[in-house]
């Protein structure tokens, strides 16, 4: 049973033989409730690795609640710093019946001597530990997810181009020289693809001589993708056309080649698979099948340690594609040109991890005839088909009825502008909510300029109005902070609602600042960056907010993945984080993050006169 615990930090810093030595030397100890495992000033005999139970760390010099410094649960390790320091500074006490692996102090120090990385792990302060953990994740996350978001231009290689009169022999020599498998043959300005296996076929089965020109052998027309496409759409093209490489065009010119082998080595197979299914789907049923893999995909990415921020943008891209395809299957093509389908709320911010409600709306271009009686019936029918399909794809209808089947959220451009004006001047809670929703909007299909014009209209109405901004900002202060009066974590049985205590205040506060500064970005992270650029926030604080947001989202996601669908259907169940179930390390991060939120609220209060 020790194996599992040794598979995480800091034991991963040891090599296999060191770990094996550790495993053999370790003992097991049982402690009843209230037993002191290690007292302040005592010379520690062991390093403790908790197998089961709960241990508190406290400073005996302090009184009561304040004395408690930390909590340790299964999988946590303590006593290492004490062994290295010669004695313990704090008192460790079993809060529940506890079973610990005991690593003798002697073998622990021996390991530290052998492995400097292992030793320094314990010497670093908590903050540095945090930092390292985060940066490790960032590295890993970037490599994995950034390829998912990468464009073709980032993954292509330069083409090897030869003239039509080049001999087979010379062509093979060039291929060997460059170490590639394919070349382009340029004939009167029209290139064709020629691969190693084509050449082999020509020599063996075609019986051509080594001196024959390659011109006639090349395959035309070229199968090509655009340099600005996602890399995974190149993969999609190859799969659907059954080729292993495609040419890359930019402004009518061939600028590169993408090879299947290169791509496959970059993608985690499951991500690739879901993306591929969505792209290849030709019927709604196929789309539904593709969508079914998404929760699994998120779980997989999280297990691989991908940084949540990247998972979110990846998921946003996949969701947008999914919704876009469903939309195209459902509505007449004329409507596609004359309208703009918007997704809103967390989907609009690109901060959706699991699929949620259908928050969407439609802007119809002024001058289109869709709202006249006859086309309107058609439009309504198409939109309700679309909505039904989204439901089938796993997006339940929005409980607030903010979706295209509600006529209030389908309107001509000028009518939308009128709505904005009305909401901005009436300022009742509902209007403020609608403005906030509309601010987080992005276009998934159709004419994106319609959304941008609408956003500009919101800025023109709201950004200079201090009173309106104040009413908007007030929303960020609505909920309790999750901290006690003394700044420690509250831990009620039913958990802290981190959507209310953490996520919402950050998202909404940043949204208000973005509204004031006329920042068009919708993702909270992008808004934070823009606010730093703008001089409104300092970099360090913006980073703290971003990390806090990522932590909340991550804890929430873990919670949601751990619940069964029946449990999830309870109101707020997916937002509640039970502090008692977190590790000591996570608790500490959570507490720090909630303090960041508290500081943010104070700034908002001061800036927007919310003391009243």
């Amino acid at each position: 049973m020790l194996e599992a615990d040794l598979a995480s930090l800091p034991f991963t810093l040891l090599d296999t033989s060191q770990r094996e030595r550790l495993r053999r030397s370790a003992d097991l100890g049982y402690y009843a409730v209230g037993k002191i495992l290690l007292d302040a000033g005592q010379v520690p005999q062991h390093v403790f690795l908790i197998y089961k139970g709960e241990v508190s760390e406290s400073d005996p010099a302090l009184e009561g609640e304040r004395a408690v410094i930390g909590h340790y649960v299964a999988g946590d390790l303590f006593g290492g710093i004490s062994v290295l320091g010669g004695h313990s500074r704090y008192r460790f006490r079993a809060e529940q019946e506890t079973l610990c692996h005991l690593i003798p102090a002697a073998s622990f120090t021996a390991l530290c001597d052998q492995s400097p990385a292992f030793a320094s792990y314990f010497r670093e302060r908590l903050a540095e530990k945090t930092q390292r953990l985060l940066s490790r994740r960032a590295e890993f996350g970037t490599t994995l997810s950034s390829f998912m978001l990468a464009r073709v231009r980032d993954g292509m290689r330069e083409p090897l181009t030869v003239g039509p009169n080049t001999t087979i022999e010379a062509a093979v020599a060039r291929l060997r020289e460059r170490g590639v498998d394919s070349l382009l043959v340029e004939t009167r300005g029209e290139p064709g693809m020629l691969t190693k296996s084509d050449l082999l076929d020509a020599l063996t089965r075609g019986g051509l001589a080594l001196g024959s020109p390659v011109g006639p052998l090349a395959r035309r027309p070229l199968i090509a993708v655009d340099a600005d496409d996602y890399l995974f759409s190149a993969l999609v093209t190859m799969t659907s056309r059954r080729v292993t490489r495609v040419a890359v065009f930019e402004a009518g010119e061939v600028v590169g080649v993408v090879e299947m082998l290169d791509l496959l080595s970059l993608f985690s197979s499951r991500t690739h698979w879901v993306g591929l299914q969505i792209e290849r789907a030709e019927t709604v049923d196929q789309l539904v099948a593709a969508a079914a893999g998404m929760t699994e995909l998120v779980e997989g990415l999280m297990a691989q340690g991908a940084k949540l921020r990247f998972v979110m943008s990846l998921l946003a891209a996949l969701n947008a594609r999914l919704i876009q395809r469903a939309y195209r299957f459902s509505v007449p093509s004329l409507l596609l040109e004359q309208s703009c389908l918007m997704v809103m709320g967390s989907e609009g911010r690109g901060e959706q991890v699991l699929k949620t409600d259908q928050d969407n709306a439609l802007i119809l271009a002024d001058g289109s005839t869709w709202l006249e009686p006859a086309p309107e019936a058609e439009l309504k029918k198409a939109l309700s088909t679309f909505s039904a399909r989204l439901s089938a794809l796993g997006y339940p209808p929005c409980p607030g009825n903010i979706m295209v089947t509600n006529p209030a959220w389908v309107a001509a451009e000028s009518a939308w502008h009128g709505k904005v004006a009305r909401w901005a001047s009436s300022r009742d809670p509902r209007s403020l909510m609608q403005l906030a929703i509309l601010l987080d909007t992005r276009c998934v299909s159709g004419d994106a300029s319609l959304v941008e014009a609408l956003r500009d209209a919101i800025f023109a109405r709201c950004s200079d109005d201090e009173l309106l901004l104040s009413h908007v900002a007030r929303g960020a202060l609505r909920f309790g902070s999750g901290l006690t009066v003394f700044g420690t974590l509250r831990h009620p049985e039913h958990g802290i609602d981190i959507k209310k205590a953490g996520l919402f205040p950050i998202v909404h506060g940043v949204r208000t600042l973005a509204l004031e500064r006329r920042i068009a970005a919708t993702s909270t992270f992008a808004r934070l960056d823009a606010l730093v650029e703008d001089g409104r926030l300092d970099r360090a604080f913006a980073d703290d907010l971003g990390e806090a947001l990522a932590l909340f989202a991550e804890l929430r996601l873990k919670r949601q993945l751990s619940l069964s669908p029946a449990e999830l259907s309870e109101p707020d169940a997916g937002d509640r984080v039970v502090v008692q179930q977190l590790s000591g390390f996570e608790r500490d991060l959570l507490r720090q993050a909630l303090h960041t939120v508290k500081a943010f609220r104070q700034r908002l209060t001061h800036r927007y006169h919310l003391e009243y």
Partner: protein, 594 residues
Amino acid sequence: MDIQFLTYLFVGGSFVLYIGIAIASRVGSTKEFYVAGGGVSPMANGAATAADWMSAASFISMAGIIAYSGYDASVYLMGWTGGYVLLAMLLAPYLRKFGKFTVPDFIGDRYYSNVARTVAVICVIFVSFTYVAGQMRGTGIVFARFLEVDVDLGVVIGMVIVFFYAVLGGMKGITYTQVAQYCVLIFAFTVPAIFLSIMMTGHVLPQTGFGATLLDSAGNDSGVYLLTRLDELVTELGFREYTSGAKSTLDVFFITAALMCGTAGLPHVIVRFFTVPRVRDARVSAGWALFFIAILYTSAPAVGAFARVNLIETVDNAAYEELPQWFYNWENSGLIAWVDKNGDGRVQMAAGDPFSGTPSYSGERGSHGERLLTNAPTDNPSEVYIDRDIIVLANPEIGNLPAWVVALVAAGGVAAALSTAAGLLLVISSAISHDLLKKQLKPDISEKGELLAARIAAAVAIVIAGYFGINPPGFVAEVVAFAFGLAASSFFPVILMGIFYKRMNREGAIAGMLVGLIFTFSYIVYFKFIAPEMSTPEHWWFGVSPEGIGTLGMIFNFVTALVVSKLTAPPPASIQHIVEEIRVPRGAGSAIDH
């Protein structure tokens, strides 16, 4: 249970209530996101506004001034009530549409000028300061009496409590705390008023008791009207008739106008109009606020009259040793003093000051047990000094009301002072940190720095206000009147024309403000500080006292601003467009209702 214990209980209990409400309202239990501000009903907001509005000056001093000055003191009633109406009806709805939180912000933007903004900031800070000083004095008096310490120490205790409450505790303007404070203060004010009214006239409502006939000791109608009896009493003692005024009609008008227009720019009350998101609700809540304010303001004249009658009947010509306990208590707090000029051991009341200046005790006791004074006695028959500000607080004791009423009044006085002081400190700190520092002096200041500056500004404001609370430069109400005069003469015209006259430009506004401010300031300084002996109606311009001169300054301001703006370029078209737009009801535009 004695008065002392009950007072601790009531004052302590009210604090627990405010803090409890503040904590409870912070831990939101609402399920909905975004519904900010939706929970506060217009009535609650009206009560909160009333608590902000009614300061220690209204609660403690006003009835005292009325008790002493009679008819002349009605300028405060009229000026302050009128100011509220003016603000609620004429200014707040438009300022709200302009979308600016503070008056300096409005002036700075409307007149596209930082100079104008700075002048407005200075006015706001000055008005708020003087006002806070009044609150400090008020809290000081309450603590002095009920902790049985000297009034100076009382002010210091008040400073510490206000600092913790308003600046560190973050209990600033939470609406429901304010509502609780209103309830406490209005109970504290009206309960003794009703008791006294029933005892003295048989009327339950003090408002009707004020105009009714007195009961004799057996409880039968004596047929003598309260005010007639009061006039008899005061003229007997050599005072002017209670119901007649010494001020000229023009002066009364000018003082009232200065108080009204100055009050209309009071920043901490304007903000209250902005905290309700919907225009309709804001109107309803202004109506409620007026009703809640009127309850106190209409009772105040009756309270003043009851107190004066009781005071004279109890104290005049009574042997010092036989006076009730409250007399000695207030003497110990330094707010009552007696010099036995004729050596008969009895306390004589008469017109004029018994000695010059405020009492300064020698630390020794006289033959009757009274505290001896070092002040030089005057040669008029008046022997007793009673600080006007203690009338409301002492009223229940003078009228022999039950101990719990006395304790309730103490809690009410603290509530009135706290609510207003907290609101004003917030305004001062945000004017300095936001309008002055961030917008002008140091635009690159971080938000953390701004927050710190706000706290320091509030702390400094409390210290300075505390200093003036201990050493009041003349009567608090008088100084407050000057501050209002300055506010009326400097920025009232600018706000008004900023809203209603689109042609008014930067040059006109600045010239007008400077003329109004400098004229009023010079006039007050000359008559109050340089040549106080000249401050008589014969030397005043048009017979206008320094208290009322702000109105004249305001007229000069209007004239200067109009003339200068005619001679200079009109404001930019964008500004003119905005000014037109704020007077047109929004939502009526054709662009809006497609």
